[in-house]
């Protein structure tokens, strides 16, 4: 999978590494900005109140 991506990136090793890090950062951004905030309330780690539900 990652090997396939690496082979399909253009340029020499340096350019590939640069594009790869940009891709990694983009993935991390999407996770932190959209995926984790969505997933967090669904997971039982952060309920702090007492209630009837």
């Amino acid at each position: 999978m990652y090997g396939w991506i690496w082979r399909h990136l253009p340029g020499n090793a340096w350019i590939k590494a640069l594009i790869a890090s940009v891709l990694v950062l983009a993935v991390v951004y999407v996770l932190f900005q959209y995926v984790f905030p969505w997933a967090e309330p669904l997971l039982p780690f952060n309920d702090v109140t007492v209630d009837n539900q």
Partner: protein
Amino acid sequence: MAATTDGTGEHSGPTAPAPPPSAPSDASPPARRPGPVATAVSVFGELLITAGLVLGLFVVYSLWWTNVVADRHADAQADKVRDQWEHQATGPGALDTRDGIGFLHVPAMRNGEVLVEKGTTSKVLNEGVAGYYTDPVRATLPMTGKPGNFSLAAHRDGHGAKFHNIDKLDEGDPIVFETRDDWYVYKVFAILPETSKYNVKVLGQVPKESGRTKAGHYITLTTCTPVYTSRYRYVVWGELVRTEKVDGDRTPPKELR
């Protein structure tokens, strides 16, 4: 397993047809074509590694990034409240509860001041503040002067983690609530280190489990326990000892000095 080499050279022209396996190649290595099983296993392995990294990132997000975001927001909000206090006409005006009603100072938690806002929904608490209960039991605000229970909740971890050190509180420790005009000095008198999350009686106007049976001016801090989970709730009760008028320099009461 015989790895076949692919000599078509689809990306790099000068690919040697069959380099030895140890050939160091920092450019594009000759594309090997493993069998379908090997490909499936390798993709599956990479997916597992990816899942592990994503879970690790989620921990980083929960325990660090949410704190950064929440603290940034809470600081801005606290500045706004202080600003309003300064510029409002003195004297008892209409109580504006939208931006926050005051600040909680708990020296034993060593986390400075915690802005208190209305409500305990995750939307409120995720902004790095403590919230006073409106549901299922409505908190009695100290400014009203009526006897009752000023019940609060805040996060134990992530989103500012304002009650992270709640277990550092001992009986007799001060809890100070600061409003525009007054300091309310409470003293911890009972701690319930573990209770069910359905135990709403701890928020009662007279919280019986604390040992008190008469109406009084109580404060209740709730958060989750053990740390990093939400299995139980940790409850700390305090009782009002005295109130002090805020002076011109906002000199804190001696408990905070």
